[in-house]
Symmetry: C2
């Protein structure tokens, strides 16, 4: 199987497959005489695992951890759960942060006429003319997944 077929079978772009190899997330693939990478079912399975982890918002670093745990048949499920739980916490924090923004924005948008007059409470708020509500920076971990 060439990289294109592996890409189709896994849903991971060829570009990303090469990148994952480069950063050591997956092992360097064997090559044919023409220097093409060769993939088998097992590699495709691994790529699909990665794809799904990414879809759940895990960073590549977390994905690597999960991948190793997956391949370690003597793992303790507690280790997996810990990674998942940490990620859940991170997601919750980020969601809460965005919901805070959303609440403020909806309120402001609601107060804004949205007509042809210049008067606008949204801008007034941004300009700090009203009460300054200090927002929480809410330090996010490096998620590596926002693009």
């Amino acid at each position: 199987m060439n990289i294109g077929e592996a890409s189709n079978a896994s849903g991971v772009s060829a570009k990303m497959i090469r990148y994952y190899e480069e950063i050591g997330l997956i092992r360097p693939m064997g090559r044919t005489g023409n220097n093409y990478r060769v993939y088998g079912e097992e590699e495709v399975h691994i790529l699909r695992f990665i794809k799904r982890a990414r879809n759940l918002g895990f960073s590549l670093e977390e994905t690597e951890t999960l991948l190793k745990l997956w391949q370690d048949k003597s793992r303790e499920s507690a280790a997996v759960k810990e990674v998942a739980t940490a990620h859940i916490g991170d997601l919750e924090r980020r969601i809460a942060e965005m919901q805070g923004m959303l609440k403020t924005l909806k309120h402001l948008a609601n107060c804004c006429g949205g007509d042809n007059r210049p008067n606008c409470p949204i801008l007034d708020d941004l300009a700090g003319d009203g009460a300054a509500d200090v927002p929480i920076p809410a330090g996010r971990k490096k998620t590596r997944q926002d693009a």
Copy 2:
């Protein structure tokens, strides 16, 4: 006022103030004889405006639009509301996406023993051994704010 004082007064780091100048978000500042940038109250006000827009999750590009609208005394509030509404929609999409991940993850974590045994439904799911629930990529706009 030097850049450090402007930074303190606005909450925007000196590094970012220079960057905003570089990308044209703010006008190049006047310099003293020693080549130091000089800031006045108006500039600090602008920086605070930017800071607040960023805190509400607006991208630098959106912030630039809002800044121009703010400075255009003959703007129509509809234009401002449009930017805000688009951003609200974006936030809602992203929140929904993360809530989807969260829901799946919580379910999986809940099913995982989290003990010293290797059996783990989280890994099983990632490996695709169970039913494959296809997630929505939910293409996000370039937000420029995720770091």
